[in-house]
Amino acid sequence: MGESKLDLLQGTLDLMVLQTLAAMGALHGYGIARRIEQASGDKVLLNQGTIYASLVRLQQRGWIRAEWGTSDNNRKAKFYSITRGGRKQLAKDAAYWQRLSDVMVRVLAMSAEESM
């Protein structure tokens, strides 16, 4: 391992979960955790257990819903899917992150120019 793995910023996990569900459809907790790890190229340090706090939070806000079902290998699992409200929230949060990261990129670039 060259670089150490990234710690997740507060609140980013919720956004990742929403995006994963929007992109992949219904998934169980393990599936969501794996997708996020894969999508990040295994760069995110994810204690998979923490995903369940995020899931219950999103569920209580009405952005995702859950129901028990059977997984590919015939296992009982709880499947989560995004709701309409969740998609709206995702659009809002994604736009916000985009803007924030643009700003961060510019700010960091400026400080680099000045130091030269």
């Binding site: 393990y30 204690n47 257990g49 369940y52 209580q60 296992r75 699992a77």
Partner: protein
């Protein structure tokens, strides 16, 4: 919106905890299994696959906790956990819990009861609309009893017209006596108490009848229709709470009177204007017939909004001196003045110092209780030190342990408050029905919202007071040594012991202050009981007699003589007599002066209490004739009456001379010869100085009595004679109502009842304080003996005798008590000055009280210390050493 929904769900999940937990459990299990399978597919062994899955998951319990935290109400969860744990520990330690709750219940219960009394008498406004506008008006110097506190009807009407400060000025007839009317027309006549009030009395107070209506102006004039309003209790008692009585007529002293309404339950005339008195019926005073009755009306007014008491007083000071006593006799002048009191101040102002003392006393009880509990908890914390150390070692934070201790104290004190509330409720309900205690507003005593809030407040404050010390002790102490140490000898450090000693000393000091206060009040009360009243209340009893003389004074004399002759013959009755008014009940005053006295030149003489009596009365009530003779049935001279004066009058009017044989002027006109001098009688209470008193003959036509009270002297209990006396009275007058035959001692007790009430309360608080202090001493000494069992064992093995060990323990007790008593005495010396105004013929530094207190405290403390000392001296060295 969003956050509300989330909150709602959080609360919901709090209540579906077990289901959601099971759900999560299944979900996590499924997660681990899938991860394990994936790992196996990647070629790991099943064991390794599962291990890696678990590592990757990152702590199942942590994940659960995080999820629960996000899901529900974590704080509440923990709180419930703590509560459950506390209930469990308290239930396990049943003896401790019982003692603690009981002690707290006593302290808190006493506080609630006293608060209810204080609240009712001092804090709560009177039960009238805008009570702050109500004012009681009476003359500045009430030395002559009711007569010099009241006004003539002419003066009242004139003041009504001339003032601008008041919306309304009204009044009531101040000379009503108990059982002054009889209900007729329904078998045996029943006694009842009537009160006549000005027609606008109730509208001024703002009292509206619950059924029917107030008096109309037409009912307050001469020859108007006779009407009455019923008091609520009388309506319930006499008419079974039947609203249909309104509009009907009832027989009252033989006349048919219409009931126009029933007054509300909240209106208790006696509790405000005449503590301890009961009024059954109210009738409108016909003012135009009362002009010549002299001072009869007690005035009450309602200020206009915005007018202050000071403004009204200033105006009254300018109006009252101009008012006439009687409009038909302007030459008599008026000599009036007025002092205005807010009605509330008038009702309970005099009681304020006593109530505040009571409140402080009960506050001290609570402090002692807290100190005691603190001590108990400290002992318990020492015993539980190991448990806490273990829990800390297992990861409980100190904050959590301290919080748990506080929850424990809060639960204890709330349980104590609940039990205390029950106790207070019992006390308060009992007190509210003590009509024999002459305290105002007592009948409206109850535990209300304010009392409940007070309960909660003191319960919480108390729990903080007694729970904090052990909590802090524990939180700051080093737990390491506790865990390491295996013996019980070092469980309590030196520091710890000192804290407990200080607590016990302060407990003793507080108890000492309470005992001194109670002692001083008790001695005052004994002094009051010891006062020579000038008459002999024991072995005498009185009953109100009704007779039909048709207004003929000669006939009156004949009837009363007949009554006395017959009563005298009843076996067991030593002697009997009749007076219109009895000492320490109602009174009125006239004037007496030496013949030819010119008050314009020589100044006014005090108002004089007047009693119109038959021969034999002085002897029957036990008064002492110091010179001259008693009345005879022949003292009927219309032009030169006979008068017996008290020593105060004789001393003032005829100083250094023999008063007997002197001629006096009664009420500025009628002449009377002094035929005797009697010892002064305390006419209102044992605590007030005797005023001027004179006695006139019932048979003299010029002096009208206001009633007739038959007084008998007997060695038998009054109840045994009641029916024989009643038979005689009924034979002479079939309309004699069934009045109660009351011991004269009741009147004296009634007059001293407020003092008795306070003394009893303060004394019981002091007793409680002493008991708690004794418990505290016992607890500390007993505990230290237990802690030092091994040490004592070694000393005994080395040759110490039982006496030496016992003396040792007792000397520790003695030291604590001595320091506490010294501190307490010093504080008492200072505090006793504060209650000096409540004392009667007792110095605030009364040496006897202080000495007795210290002796009592010492004796109780040594007794409390003796029990553990005896136990210590019986320690068997072999056993003590082996067990450790």
């Amino acid at each position: 919106m969003d956050s509300i929904r989330r909150m709602l769900r959080r609360v919901l999940s709090f209540f579906r905890k077990s289901q959601l937990d099971a759900d999560l459990e299944a979900e996590i299990a499924s997660h681990i299994e899938q991860a394990t399978e994936d790992n196996i597919e990647r070629g790991l062994t099943p064991l390794e696959a599962r291990r890696q899955a678990l590592v990757h998951f990152g702590g199942i319990d942590l994940a659960k906790d995080k999820q629960r935290e996000a899901r529900g109400l974590m704080k509440l969860d923990i709180l419930l956990q703590d509560l459950r744990y506390t209930t469990r520990t308290l239930r396990r330690d049943r003896a401790f819990t019982l003692v603690a709750v009981l002690i707290l219940a006593l302290g808190i219960g006493a506080n609630i009861a006293v608060f209810s009394v204080v609240n009712t008498l001092l804090l709560r406004p009177l039960p009238f609309p805008h009570p702050e506008q109500l004012v009681r008006i009476h003359q500045k110097d009430p030395k002559g009893g009711e007569s010099s506190m009241t006004y003539s009807t002419d003066a009242m009407l004139a003041f009504q017209q001339q003032n601008w400060s008041f919306q309304q000025v009204t009044g009531y007839f101040a000379f009503s006596t108990p059982d002054n009317v009889k209900l007729t027309g329904n078998g045996q006549p029943q006694p009842a108490t009537g009160m006549s009030v000005a027609g606008d009395f109730f509208s001024t107070l703002g009292v509206t009848p619950i059924f029917g209506r107030n008096f109309t102006p037409e009912e307050s004039v001469k020859n108007g229709r006779p009407v009455v309003l019923l008091s609520y209790p009388f309506w319930k008692r006499q008419y079974g709470a039947n609203p249909a009585i309104v509009g009907q007529t009832i027989g009252l002293d033989g006349t048919q009177v219409t009931v126009v309404g029933v007054l509300p339950e909240t209106f208790d005339f006696g509790s405000i204007f005449a503590p301890g008195a009961r009024v059954d019926l109210f009738s409108p005073a016909i003012l135009s017939t009362m002009e010549d009755w002299g001072n009869t009306m007690a005035l009450v007014g309602r200020l206009k909004p915005g007018v202050t008491l000071g403004q009204a007083q200033a105006e009254a000071d300018s109006i009252f001196p101009r008012l006439l006593f009687n409009n038909k006799h302007p030459e008599w002048g008026g000599k009036y003045d007025a002092r205005l009191f807010g009605l509330k101040e008038y009702v309970s102002g005099k009681l304020r110092p006593s109530l505040i003392v009571l409140w402080c006393a009960v506050g001290m009880i609570l402090l002692i209780v807290c100190v005691n509990l603190s001590n108990l908890l400290l002992a318990r914390a020492a015993a539980r030190a190991k448990e806490f150390a273990m829990r800390t070692a297992l990861g409980a934070s100190r904050g959590r342990i301290v919080r748990q201790l506080l929850i424990e104290s809060l639960m204890l004190s709330l349980s104590g408050a609940v039990v205390g509330l029950c106790m207070a409720w019992a006390i308060v309900s009992w007190l509210a029905h003590q009509a024999s205690i002459a305290l105002p507003l007592l009948s409206s005593l109850r535990i209300d919202g304010a009392a409940l809030a007070w309960t909660l407040l003191i319960a919480v404050v108390a729990s903080l007071l007694f729970g904090l010390a052990p909590g802090i002790k524990l939180a700051t102490g080093d737990l390491q040594p506790v865990l390491k140490d295996s013996g019980s000898g070092t469980g309590e450090g030196r520091n710890h012991r000192r804290t407990r000693s200080v607590l016990v000393i302060s407990e003793i000091a507080l108890a000492c202050v309470l005992l001194v206060g109670a002692g001083l009040l008790l001695r005052s009360f004994l002094h009051v009981l010891d006062v020579d009243l000038g008459f002999e209340p024991s072995h005498s009893a009185a009953i109100s007699v009704s007779y039909e003389d048709g207004g003929d004074p000669v006939k009156r004399g004949v009837i009363l003589q007949q009554v006395l002759q017959r009563v005298d013959q009843i076996p067991g009755i030593e002697t009997a007599g009749i007076s219109d008014e009895l000492p320490m009940s109602t009174n009125r005053s006239w004037g007496i002066a030496p013949k030819g006295y010119d008050y314009k030149k020589q100044g006014l003489l005090p108002d004089t209490f007047v009693y119109v009596v038959t021969p034999g009365y002085l002897h029957a009530i036990g008064m002492r004739l110091v010179a001259g003779r008693d009345f005879t049935w022949d003292d009927t001279n219309k032009d030169l009456g006979a008068v017996i004066v008290n020593e105060t009058i004789a001393r003032h009017i005829w100083p250094g001379q023999d008063a007997v044989g002197k001629i006096a002027e009664i009420n500025g006109g009628q002449l009377a010869q002094v035929i005797g001098v009697v010892d002064d009688v305390h006419e209102t209470s044992a605590e007030t100085q005797a005023g001027w008193q004179m006695y006139l003959s019932q048979t003299a036509p010029q002096f009208g009595p206001v009633g007739a009270n038959l007084v008998v002297r007997t060695k038998l209990p009054p109840a045994a004679l009641a029916s024989a006396v009643m038979d005689v009275l009924r034979e002479i007058n079939p309309a004699q109502p069934a009045n109660e035959f009351k011991p004269i001692q009741l009147l004296v007790d009634h007059a001293s009842s407020p003092r008795r009430f306070f003394v009893m309360l303060v004394a019981s608080f002091a007793g409680l304080g002493l008991l708690l202090a004794a418990l505290g001493i016992y607890g500390v000494i007993s505990y230290s003996v237990t802690q030092r069992t091994r040490e004592i064992g070694i000393r005994m093995a080395l040759g110490a005798t039982m006496t030496q060990v016992r003396r040792d323990v007792l000397s520790k007790t003695f030291r604590l008590t001595l320091i506490g008593a010294i501190a307490g005495t010093a504080a008492s010396l200072f505090l006793a000055k504060v209650i000096a105004a409540l004392l009667f013929e007792t110095a605030p530094t009364d040496p006897l009280t202080f000495a007795a207190t210290i002796l009592l405290l010492g004796a109780v403390a040594l007794l409390a210390g003796y029990l553990p000392a005896r136990r210590a001296s019986r320690i068997n060295p072999t056993v003590a050493l082996r067990n450790n």
